[in-house]
């Protein structure tokens, strides 16, 4: 029929869309190497075991926030007995992950999450620089 050209074009467009990630990653030279977040030099152990942090750091932060703003609890006792002040910018980003761009942001860009915490919480490094 005269319509075969249209049908095959449609089929090719569909196959192109389905396999688009393949063409894109091939053209962009993407490999399965991860985002390689830069770990802090001075500390060896996070506030929770690595595997927990990998999957659930956002929930830990929420627990901290609820503790601080709703229950007035400011101290978090880690699994290994160390105590931390429960603060996103004050503890995570000041004590250890001073390089937010190479740590948090690398992963979040990789995973395609737009973390909205930074609408309000300020990266202390940027705050210090603009204060100068």
């Amino acid at each position: 029929m005269r319509d075969r050209g249209v049908i095959y074009t449609g089929l090719l467009v569909f196959l192109g869309i389905i396999t688009f990630p393949m063409w894109h990653d091939w053209a962009a030279g993407t490999t399965s190497r991860g985002p390689d977040p830069v770990l802090p030099a001075q500390e060896k152990q996070c506030v929770a075991p690595l595997s927990t942090m990998r999957t659930s750091h956002m929930q830990l932060l929420m627990d901290w926030r609820d503790g601080v703003v709703r229950r007035n609890v400011h101290t978090y006792t880690a699994f290994n007995g160390r105590n931390f002040n429960m603060s996103l910018t004050g503890t995570c980003l000041t004590g250890c992950h001073t390089n937010k761009a190479d740590f948090c942001d690398r992963c979040h860009n990789y995973a395609g999450v737009a973390v909205y915490c930074w609408d309000c919480h300020v990266d202390p490094k940027l705050a210090r620089r603009s204060a100068k």
Partner: protein, 329 residues
């Protein structure tokens, strides 16, 4: 019974992936080999089906539509209901594909006291179907964040919109709520009404339970169990760049999600789900009604011996004249 057996099949598949996913040597089978086989079956199967369909002859237009056909200039034609040109067909098709227009006209006949036959509108099927399909599409596009690096703008924007209400952490996606609600409604619709239940087949329930299992395993990973998303993305990119890896951090819960998806992909070309391609090839939707304006020649026409009236009259001329019947010549 059909519902229970298809549910059991989906649960068995999920359980199989969950337990086999804990056996180290099998993780490559579940995470790499089966997905590759499934996507190959999907691509080849869909192409095969569409090509076979494209070979069917369509000798004339099928104007089964409720609009006035284009005819004399002073008779108003239904350009959308009964299009006579390509733009009209494209508009009708677009409304059908994007908004399920013919499903919007869904009616239900009911026998009431009297006996009286009542026809009523039945828009819930349309609403449920629309909610399900659009949610599926949005989730599909959002999932591209696992396959593409750097993540495209469009995917990020869609992600933002879908998590607009910023409920909880990780943010609740609106489409996660709508897809599960819509699937449950579509299932309930089949189970509740005895007539619909009677005509429902194993395949009808299987598709619903399979997609429900896929969505629920995703919801479980995101909101309840938590998984290492970075490791999953490494696996996904490994698959599409043909250098597959199964990182240690990928749990068997994710393999459940992946195996249900592989089942869906491999099952797709041989099931009613092929309506995804089929809708574009529906002759009552995609053909302009120009039967009387254009000559459509039967493409497989061959010469047939005919015996026209003139020859017949010549053959029996004398007999007709003798009987006193009128003659043309």
């Amino acid at each position: 019974m059909k519902a229970l057996s298809s549910l059991a099949l989906v649960v068995a598949l999920a359980a199989l992936a969950f337990f086999l996913g804990r056996v180290e040597p099998l993780r490559v089978v579940l995470g790499v080999i089966i997905p590759y086989v499934a996507i190959a079956i999907f691509l080849a199967g869909v192409s095969y089906k569409v090509i076979v369909w494209s070979l069917s002859p369509v000798p004339f237009r099928i104007p089964t539509s409720c609009g006035q056909q284009k005819s004399l200039s002073w008779i108003k034609a239904g350009w959308l209901e009964n299009p006579h040109s390509t733009p009209g067909v494209v508009a009708r098709m677009a409304l059908e594909v994007l908004l399920f227009r013919s499903l919007f006209r869904n009616t239900k006949a009911e026998l009431r006291e009297g006996p009286r036959l009542i026809y009523g509108e039945r828009r819930f099927l349309w609403l449920g179907a629309l909610a399900f399909h659009w949610s599926f599409l949005v989730i599909f596009v959002r999932h591209l964040r696992f396959f593409i690096e750097p993540v495209p703008r469009l995917v990020m924007v869609l992600d933002r919109l879908d998590s607009f209400f910023q409920v909880g952490i990780p943010l609740l996606y609106i489409t996660d709520v709508t897809i599960v609600a819509a699937l449950l409604y579509l299932l309930l619709r089949r189970l509740r009404d005895p007539q619909v239940r009677y005509i429902s087949l194993f395949a009808d329930y299987f598709a619903l339970f399979l997609i429900l299992g896929l969505a629920l395993s995703g919801v479980w990973m995101r909101y309840f169990a938590r998984i290492d998303v970075v490791a999953v993305k490494q696996l996904a990119i490994g698959l599409v760049t043909f250098s597959p890896i199964v990182p240690r951090e990928v749990t068997s819960l994710f393999l459940v999600h992946l195996i249900l998806l592989s089942t869906l992909l491999a099952y797709f070309p041989f099931s009613k789900l092929m309506h995804m391609g089929g809708i574009f090839l529906s002759p009552t939707r995609n053909l302009a009604n120009n039967n009387r304006r254009k000559r459509h020649v039967n493409p497989w026409d061959y010469p047939v011996p005919v015996h026209p009236y003139q020859e017949w009259e010549a053959e029996f001329h004398d007999k007709i004249a003798a009987a006193g019947l009128p003659l043309e010549k």
